[in-house]
Amino acid sequence: MSAMTPAHQMFLQAFMARGLLNSKEVKDLFRKSLELNDVQVPESEEERKRQLVKFIRTISDHVSPFHLDIRKGVSEDDGTNFYCLVNNVENHITKMASDYSSSELDFFKKLVEQIVENDGAIGSTAALNIVTQDKKLTKNDAQDLLLRLENDRWIMQKEGKVSLSIRSILELDQYIQDVYPDSVKKCNVCKQICLKGQMCEDCGVKIHIHCAIRFFHRQENPRCPDQDCGAQWTHPVPSPSKSHIAT
């Protein structure tokens, strides 16, 4: 196992401070971490990429005894790549977390449930209505809480819809699969959890939008990717625009 250098520590600390970084931010951070520590930055893009992968692996190796990991995921919204520092253990120590109060965590838990059971997004009103179930928080509290969850990058709020950010999906992956086995589906293409996506009306197979774009690319007559199904794919598949090409 390669040793941690101050450059690695800087990189890791930046992940602790931000939680979620897109691939451009990761590349910039990598360069900065090397430069601030007088380490030569590889000139060729390819070599930089190779070094970055090695760099991240070193950090992952060192944080794994503390049940932490740096995971890569793709945003269900626009197909961009993200990296997250995730905790992957549930024990008596993690229960002492204090970023959110227990009633706020209850709210979040129910929010996750609603989102998982409603194809990856619910309306803001439905989200605020979660509070009426237990009455521990007021609607105003819930509104503030949604904003905090958004600022901390656990959820996204867009066009009146609330959904889980890639940070939540990556960190709660196992939890969601274990607790909602009947509701959650895995994408037929990339085999990762798929909350938002397109579903085959015949067999119920689900795929991410960005996976659909890749999979159906240049197919004139798209069909369900499931071998046994092969039904006509009735959803419109967006053309590969800039925002949907994973970088």
Partner: protein, 80 residues
């Protein structure tokens, strides 16, 4: 000679909190290219904070959701 110089240097600049407040607003206005009058704006406080971080050795905290709450029961859907 030397003693006199030291005496002169003593209390060369006296710290005045209200003058400090004005200087802080001038600094922030200069950074943001705005005019901070009366009170410091939200953007102004943030800008001042960003600059201040250099003078503190704060360590980042670890934030997570996994394991922060109890799992509860597995949610099974009734078979239709």
């Amino acid at each position: 000679g030397r003693q006199k110089a030291q005496a002169l240097n003593l209390e060369f600049v006296k710290f005045q909190p209200l003058e400090f407040a004005e200087k802080l607003k001038t600094f922030v206005s200069h950074q943001l290219g705005t005019q901070e009058r009366g009170s410091l704006s939200s953007v102004g406080w943030r800008e001042l904070g960003k600059f201040s971080q250099t003078f503190l050795k704060k360590s980042p905290a670890l934030h997570f959701m996994c394991g922060a709450f109890e799992r509860g029961e597995v949610v099974k859907k009734p078979v239709a």
